[in-house]
């Protein structure tokens, strides 16, 4: 019967059997898993660079926050106390990560927001995600601690797509860099 099958059928079967003999399924799965996890870590690298060498502390616990202050897709989310832009959590990203296809600006503006659960002041970096047109979902403008535009480093009216391939701003993230212990 084999001889009666089309040549392409035999070729594919032979190749498939050879592949199955030579490779381990578990090995392939392990390598694929490692690649996937590695790829997942890549978008977080700018966060790693922003991190400090100070003693590590547990992240603020949002799980006990009720309502909008604990919801990253809400303008009332506690980290958004001085954000101005479209929330990346509504645009295919999260409060920490840019949506696929955009690049996080390494240049940013930094302020503090008080966590409603533990009452501490956390240092928040508002990074723009750049490279696509405006997201236009979840527009949010809050101004706690914001300074007039002549304090450019503390003003959120500016577009912060500096040091990126594109100056087009898509949305903004709010990354916790640490906790400020000065009262």
């Amino acid at each position: 019967m084999t001889a009666n099958r089309p040549w392409i059928d035999r070729l594919v079967e032979g190749a498939a059997r050879q592949l199955a003999r030579r490779t381990s399924r578990r090995g392939m799965l392990a390598r694929l898993g490692a690649a996937l996890v590695g790829a997942a870590a890549l978008p977080l690298l700018p966060v790693a660079r922003a991190a400090t060498e100070d003693p590590r502390m547990p992240p603020p616990d949002d799980s006990k926050l009720e309502g909008a202050v604990g919801d990253p897709t809400s303008c009332a989310y506690w980290r958004h106390c001085a954000i101005d832009g479209f929330l990346c959590a509504c645009c295919g990203g999260s409060q920490n990560a840019c949506p696929p296809g955009t690049e996080m600006s390494p240049v940013t503006w930094i302020g503090t927001c008080r966590h409603p659960g533990d009452g501490r002041d956390y240092i928040i970096s508002y990074n723009d995600c750049c490279g696509q047109s405006l997201c236009l979902r979840c527009r949010c403008t809050r101004t706690e601690g914001e300074k007039p535009v002549y304090f450019t480093s503390r003003n959120n009216d500016l577009l912060w797509c500096f040091g990126t391939k594109s100056r087009a701003v898509h949305c903004s993230v709010a990354i916790v860099l640490g906790v400020a212990t000065r009262s």
Partner: protein, 143 residues
Amino acid sequence: MTRPHAAAVLAAAVGLAAGRAGAMSGPPLDYTLACAGCHRADGGGTPGSIPPLAGSVARFLRVAGGREFLARVPGVAQAPLDDAALAGVLNWMLARFDPAHLPAGFVPYDAAEVGRLRHEPLIDVEGVRERLLEAIGHRRFSP
């Protein structure tokens, strides 16, 4: 080898995703709030936009006028910090980001010196910077 490697990557990814936060106070906190947005947490700057501090900032102390420049450059002079805090950040930055170029016998900035210098506006910032870089012998600082 594959499994330990994957486990290490996973642990790193989880650690980052957890967003662990360090406690900060004093000059590191002031640096983070007033400077790190542009110069970045590691002092690396952004090529083409923001000059790096790491490995270069203390070179200014080795040429005439450099010490004054560091306190008069607009990002420093106009930082929303009082004189004492600003002096603290300057001293901390020099030691943290460029200890190798810190001259022997470096006298730390104090509030009085910084207060005096930051009130002398630096009009031709680029020109002064260019002349200092030339004196240092590193014209090709980025940007």
